[in-house]
């Protein structure tokens, strides 16, 4: 039984597995082990066993210990990771260890720990803060919260104050509060399912039927449904039917953490009989481990999660849903740069199960695949609420009308009109802060970041200038460092400035800003969103955070402040992204009975993008863009890979990239490798950046080249002074 040789995956940047002897312990494939590595110990996962090793037996080190009582990682997950690591040119061990929840990466047994809540006692109710030691602000704060709410969980207390633990300890000593120990449980209510069942239209019924009839084999679908056409309802009905077997599991991928709680609560209220867990990076370590283990054990039936959950171990997986499949957040931007939708497709193919990709504005890659019949197309072109018409979209030509504080008079009139009717408006501007530029009008000096090649953004409410690339902050300078003028001029518009303008124009209206700054802190966004739904907000102004998935029945006007900058972007995907963003934003208007209106301020109202938008014609827009891509041989008509590099000195970057470029040209005639170039933002955090783009009409050629190129790049000394990475199917150029 003993002294077998174990093949172990470790989180080290090397392509190989590591051989260890089992040291007389009984070890299974898929178990976590602790191994000596150099002069440290590391966590590894046993991937296989062998009887031969290149290392002589006497030199082979033994593992230190094995973590029993933990579920094993299964063959299916190994094979997915293996494929992903080869496809994305990333070491297998690193890929495997890094998809595990952080608790499983730590050197200790992973136990889902107890959860504690704290409840106020009779004594605590009788006493007031007077009987507590004086001058303890946190203590009193916690005490008052518990007096009011009776019982609070750890995370709730954490939201009240970071120093809650000390306060609770004192309160327990006083006998004012007691600890309540709970084993984490999946909350499933007993009732079978919700009574409310909306009537489906014919398109929805057809879509559901088609998927359910074909379950049990690999069948990819694009569920192309306009905004408000009831895609979520289709998902839920499909899940209900596919999961009617008591074992089956489903994976539902969503783009943003912010969307997860919303979808989760909708699923939970409708599919009450099915245990649902979520997996995303906003969970704390133990929640994540807990949910991961539930998924792995097969107890959780529906797993809703962001991109990382595509690597969750799901032994009974029978269907995958990828909501908003076009969304950029499915692409991982560091480490192994995988695309969760593509991994999901691969998983579905290997498991021979259906996968549904839903979107109102599918990515061109996916759209193209339906055209060549690789994916089946399911169309929903009617709004689910029958009275809800598609919003009327109009462009306001800003080259012909005056703009005051970022807004045309047509837009302000439209907002006033909604205020009179008691309806809500939403303004969309994809730039947070007060203004993107601080300009000296006397000498045209502009405040720019010292570490990045970009301008500093004015955040007037906090009186700071900040760089949105490196995060550095400084107080707003008193005078121009170049000429001394004190009257510096914030130029351009951000969410805060539009918020100010709205408050000035409509002093009685309740204005709410939604951007990364206004939604810091747990539950802040969901609080805001529920305030909107319960009509406590008249005007919303925000960034793309507002664009997705939200359902505000009383919102009838959407105003787009300024999107023209996206029309000038050098990235070939910019117009595709802008279109889908505007389509999504527009979709927020008039989702219930009231008709919606969308007003877009632009200097290019005749641009074909806006024409397609006005007609709600994604298909036509996609045709035009696909033609462009075909002519320029960009995806989906070709496959891209990108080598990015950065260093303090650009010479190091250039020399490395030049070397990569030379080898690539030498090794492959089929792959077109472009010269090293600099991205739009040349320097970030003091690092000079550059990249080489590779393009091939066949994926095979690209990967053939990479398999010889990457090892050479890992070896070269030119790489020692730089940081570099490889991005397969890059979503953003630069």
């Amino acid at each position: 039984m003993c002294n077998e040789i174990l093949k172990i995956a470790l989180d080290v940047p090397m392509d190989s597995l590591f051989d260890y002897s089992d040291g007389g312990m009984e070890v299974n494939v898929g178990q976590r082990v602790l191994v000596p590595f150099g002069n440290k110990s590391r966590i590894g996962v046993v991937v296989g066993k062998t009887s031969v090793s290149k290392i002589p037996l006497e030199k082979l080190k033994a593992i230190k210990s094995v973590y029993n009582d933990e579920p094993l990682i299964d063959e299916e997950l190994f094979s997915i990771i293996k494929f992903a690591s080869e496809y994305y040119q990333y070491p297998f061990g690193q890929a495997l260890i890094n998809i595990l929840p952080s608790r499983l990466r730590q050197i200790k047994p992973a136990k889902t720990r107890y959860h504690y809540s704290y409840e106020i006692t009779e004594l605590g109710i009788e006493n007031d803060a007077q009987s507590l030691p004086p001058r303890k602000v946190i203590l009193k704060k916690i005490f008052y919260v518990l007096k009011e709410k009776r019982i609070q969980s750890e995370s709730e207390l954490g939201d009240v104050s970071k120093g809650w633990r000390g306060a609770i300890k004192t309160l327990i000593e006083f006998g004012f509060v007691k600890e309540v120990k709970q084993l984490p449980v999946l909350d499933i209510s007993d009732s079978k399912e919700s009574n409310f069942e909306p009537t489906l239209n014919l398109e929805q019924k057809n879509a559901i039927e088609q998927v359910v009839d074909n379950s049990g084999k690999f069948s990819p679908y694009l569920l192309y449904g306009i905004t408000g056409s009831g895609k979520t309802e289709v998902y839920m009905q499909i899940l209900k039917q596919v999961l009617s077997d008591n074992n089956h599991q489903a994976l539902v991928l969503v783009p943003e953490i912010n969307l997860t709680p919303q979808l989760e609560s909708r699923f939970k209220s409708r599919l009450k009989h099915l245990p649902i867990v979520s997996l995303h990076s906003n969970l704390n370590e133990s929640e994540r481990l807990h949910n991961w283990v539930y998924a792995q054990s097969g107890k959780a039936r529906i797993i809703i999660g962001t991109r990382l959950s595509v690597f969750a171990q799901l032994p009974k997986l029978k269907i995958i849903i990828v909501d908003e499949e076009h969304d950029g957040s499915y692409k991982q931007q560091e480490g192994m740069r995988y695309h969760a939708r593509d991994i999901a497709l691969l998983r579905a193919q290997q498991l021979k199960i259906p996968i549904i990709m839903g979107s109102a504005t599918p990515s061109l890659e996916t759209w193209y695949n339906t055209k060549i019949h690789k994916y089946a197309l399911l169309t929903l072109c009617k709004r689910a609420v029958t009275q809800a018409a598609l919003p009327n979209i109009r462009c306001l030509d800003i080259s012909k009308t005056d703009i005051v504080d970022g807004m045309t008079s047509a837009l302000t009139t439209a907002i006033q009109d909604r205020l009179n009717k008691g309806e809500q408006s939403m303004l969309f501007i994809n730039r947070r802060g007060y203004s993107p530029v601080l300009l000296c009008r006397s000498c045209h000096w502009i405040a720019s970041c010292k570490r990045c090649s970009c301008k500093l953004v004015v955040h007037l409410n906090r009186k700071i200038l900040t760089c949105h690339h490196c995060g550095q902050e400084q107080r707003i300078i008193r005078q121009c460092p170049n000429c001394g003028d004190a009257d510096l001029c914030p130029t351009g518009y951000g969410t805060q400035r539009i918020e100010d303008t709205l408050k000035k124009l409509f002093p009685a209206a309740r204005v709410q800003r939604v951007d990364r700054d206004s939604t810091r802190g747990k539950d802040k966004l969901s609080d805001i969103l529920s305030a909107v739904v319960s009509n406590k907000v008249d005007i919303l102004v925000g960034t793309q955070m507002l664009a997705k998935g939200h359902d505000f029945p009383n919102l009838t006007l959407v105003g787009v402040i300024d999107t023209d900058s996206a029309l000038f972007s050098p990235d070939f995907r910019a117009s595709e992204r802008l279109f889908s963003q505007l389509m999504q934003v527009s979709g927020r208007a008039g989702r219930a009975e009231k008709p919606g209106e969308v007003l877009i301020q632009t200097a290019f109202p005749e641009h074909n993008l806006f024409n397609a938008l006005r007609n709600h014609d994604y298909a036509n827009f996609a045709e035009v863009i696909l033609k462009e891509r075909e002519m320029t041989e960009f995806p989906p008509y070709s496959y891209l890979a990108m080598i990015r590099a950065e260093a303090i000195n650009y010479d190091f970057v250039y020399n490395f990239l030049k070397y990569a470029h030379e080898i690539a040209n030498l090794e492959s005639k089929e792959v077109l490798t472009y010269d090293p170039v600099r991205p739009q933002i040349e320097r970030i955090k003091g690092k000079e950046r550059g990249y080489v783009l590779m393009q091939a009409t066949q994926r095979r050629h690209l990967h053939q080249l990479l398999s010889t190129l990457i090892p050479k790049l890992r070896e070269t000394k030119l790489g020692s002074k730089i940081r570099w990475n490889i991005d397969i199917d890059p979503q953003e150029l630069g």
Binding site: Q479, A486, D487
Partner: protein, 101 residues
């Protein structure tokens, strides 16, 4: 640049327009107003009538002081001239002293 180069303007006039106090991004108060200057001046031994409107900027403590002024107040201002902005040819006065007549 010769920092001692002379740029001194002393002018009296009546306030004809007074803007609201505003603040620079760094929080320095700033007030702009316009004075109407009317006088008789001598030029080549000839008397002539002068009438002009002068845009004026007061920054910092002077802005708070100027805020107490009202339209039709007559003031004597001491300060210097500069351009309104880089590409503008219009001159504006920035002040260091206000005296109320």
């Amino acid at each position: 640049m010769n920092t001692l180069a002379t740029n001194l303007l002393v002018i009296t006039g009546e306030i004809v327009k007074l803007d609201d106090l505003r603040y620079t991004p760094a929080g320095i108060p700033l007030l702009s107003f316009v004075v109407l200057h009317v006088s008789m001046q001598t030029e080549a031994d000839m008397q002539r009538k002068i009438e002009l409107e002068m845009p004026v900027f007061a920054v910092g403590a002077l802005a708070l002081e100027a805020q107490k002024l009202e339209v039709s107040d007559v003031v004597k201002l001491t300060g210097f001239l500069t351009k309104r902005s880089l590409k503008s040819t219009q001159l504006v006065m920035h002040i260091n002293k206000i005296e109320i007549n």
